[in-house]
């Protein structure tokens, strides 16, 4: 019934190959304008040319993303614990948090750039804002939904309020925090890239924007593939960490 692994891998290989082949043929035959859609072979060749500046840009972007990510995780988890544990705070603030989470943050980007200038700071700030809210929303929900039975058990066995946090609430929300971190990293990276495209003088977003403006399609495609691969690797890495930390969930 269930398709075997060879069939799945075969289909994946064949379809990716067919896509690249069709694309290459179309570009060589002149069915598409190679100025806009370069052949895969041209993109591969462009890696050499764009490699160094793209890697430098990627490094710059990832450094800003890392800083924004740390701030977003610390802020999101800390605020989430605070708001999630205090019923009144949660009831009062939840609609604000949800509303801010749902708003397209790009609308405040011009103002942030106006305020903070053209440098790494707006990218870090905007990346942090972008990553903070999904983590915050998840952690508030995670704390709210901690199994009340476990809290009762811990109290019956004499847990102090401090122990309730360390031994019950924190371990219970680990999966939520990791889910938030997985979502958060994509959001942080997205935020940093947007700022770099909008107002960057450095970083991968700026590199992509400049390549597009210069109509250098092969280099643009190569750089896009590079940053995509980087983010996939990061997310898969977080998934692997998640898997190891939550054997108990089965």
């Amino acid at each position: 019934m269930s398709p075997g692994r060879p069939a799945v891998l075969g289909l994946q290989a064949v379809s990716v190959g067919a896509l690249l082949g069709a694309w290459e043929t179309a570009a060589r035959a002149g069915w598409v304008d190679p100025l806009f859609v370069p052949a895969p072979s041209a993109v591969a060749a462009a890696f050499a040319g764009v490699g160094a500046p793209a890697l430098a840009g990627l490094g710059d972007t990832l450094a800003k993303t890392a800083l924004a990510y740390v701030l977003a995780v610390v802020g999101g988890v800390g605020l989430g614990l605070l708001i999630g544990s205090l019923r009144l705070l949660r009831d009062v603030l939840s609609p604000f948090v949800i509303a801010l989470y749902g708003m397209p943050k790009i609308l405040v980007l011009p103002w942030i750039v106006l305020l903070l200038g053209y440098g790494p700071t707006p990218a870090v700030v905007y990346g942090t804002i972008h990553g903070l809210f999904p983590i915050l929303v998840l952690v508030i929900g995670g704390v709210r939904d901690v199994d009340r039975n476990l809290v009762t058990v811990a109290r019956a066995f004499g847990a102090t309020p401090w122990q309730l946090y360390w031994k019950v609430v924190l371990p219970a929300i680990v999966p939520t925090v990791i889910a938030g971190m997985r979502l958060g990293i994509v959001f942080c990276l997205l935020g940093v890239l947007v700022v770099e495209m909008f107002a960057g003088v450095r970083g991968m977003g700026h590199v992509l924007g400049a390549l597009a403006n210069g109509f250098r399609a092969p280099e643009l495609f190569a750089a896009t593939a590079l940053v995509s691969a980087a983010s996939i690797v990061i997310v898969l890495g977080l998934d692997a960490v998640n898997e190891r930390l939550s054997r108990w969930r089965g």
């Binding site: 379809s15 609308l107 405040v108 106006l114 990276l189 597009a212």
Partner: protein, 252 residues
């Protein structure tokens, strides 16, 4: 009583935020911090078409871009989701690829789309489509996984043929997840179109926002942002209305 107190506290927080904003704007540069007292007249000028006479045209263009992008995202998302969800081989081969692509911050595709589709509406539609497509396709996949095999077995035991099973069992059972995906898809399509417009466009709300910001007309900028926020809220309200309808239907 408790609900009243909570509402009061929320109002107090809003009022305090506005007051702090006003105070900061007066103390610091009002060019950077537009005080709420200056936003109201700017909003008035905007809505009476004094400051930006092309507001209706821009708003209409943005709404049109969103509508087209969302329509395409629904069609492609449903088609792709059902194809991968109902066929095991396709699902196992392309499901992981879809999930991996979803892990890429979509904005990296935008320069390529701009290069290919140009600065006009097409690149915004393409980007909005791309953002809206994933949650819809993934919701269909999740929804299909949620359908209890028990229900399908019961329907087939009573002689239902596959099309009937699809219409009478699968769609109702997955409807809530599906509608949730459609709502998220709309929200992301809206974000995509607005992001696309702000990152580079000649028309639409994003272009107006960029114009106001570029000329340091910050009060106008804030007013334009408020109008765009209203558009976002309206679209989400519409989606949530549909979601509630679907919810009531699945419960009964």
């Amino acid at each position: 009583m408790r609900a009243g107190r909570i509402a009061l506290l929320r109002l107090a927080i809003l009022a305090a935020a506005l007051a702090a904003w006003e105070a900061a704007a007066r103390a610091a540069s009002p060019l950077l911090y537009v005080p709420p007292s200056a936003v109201v007249p700017a909003l008035g000028r905007l809505l009476t078409l004094e400051s930006y006479p092309d507001l209706p045209a821009s708003l209409a263009l943005t709404v049109r871009e969103i509508a087209v992008a969302y329509g395409l995202a629904i069609a492609a998302g449903l088609a792709c989701g059902f194809a991968l969800g109902l066929n095991r081989l396709l699902g196992r081969a392309f499901g992981p690829i879809l999930a991996a692509l979803y892990a890429v911050p979509a904005v990296v595709w935008y320069p390529s789309l701009m290069l290919f589709f140009g600065l006009d509406a097409a690149s915004k539609i393409a980007f909005g489509f791309l953002l809206g497509f994933f949650p819809i396709a993934l919701a269909v996949l999740a929804g299909i996984r949620q359908v209890s095999p028990q229900l399908v077995t019961v329907a087939r035991a009573f002689g239902a043929r596959p099309p009937t099973v699809f219409v009478k069992v699968m769609v109702p059972a997955m409807l809530f997840t599906l509608v949730g995906g459609l709502r998220t898809g709309l929200a992301l399509t809206v974000v995509g179109v607005i992001v696309g417009e702000i990152l580079g466009s000649k028309a639409g709300m994003g272009a107006l926002i960029n114009h106001a910001y570029g000329l340091f007309r910050t009060a106008d900028y804030v007013a334009l942002v408020l109008v765009t926020v209203a558009l976002v809220v309206a679209s989400d309200a519409l989606a949530s209305l549909v979601e509630r309808r679907a919810g009531r239907w699945t419960e009964s």
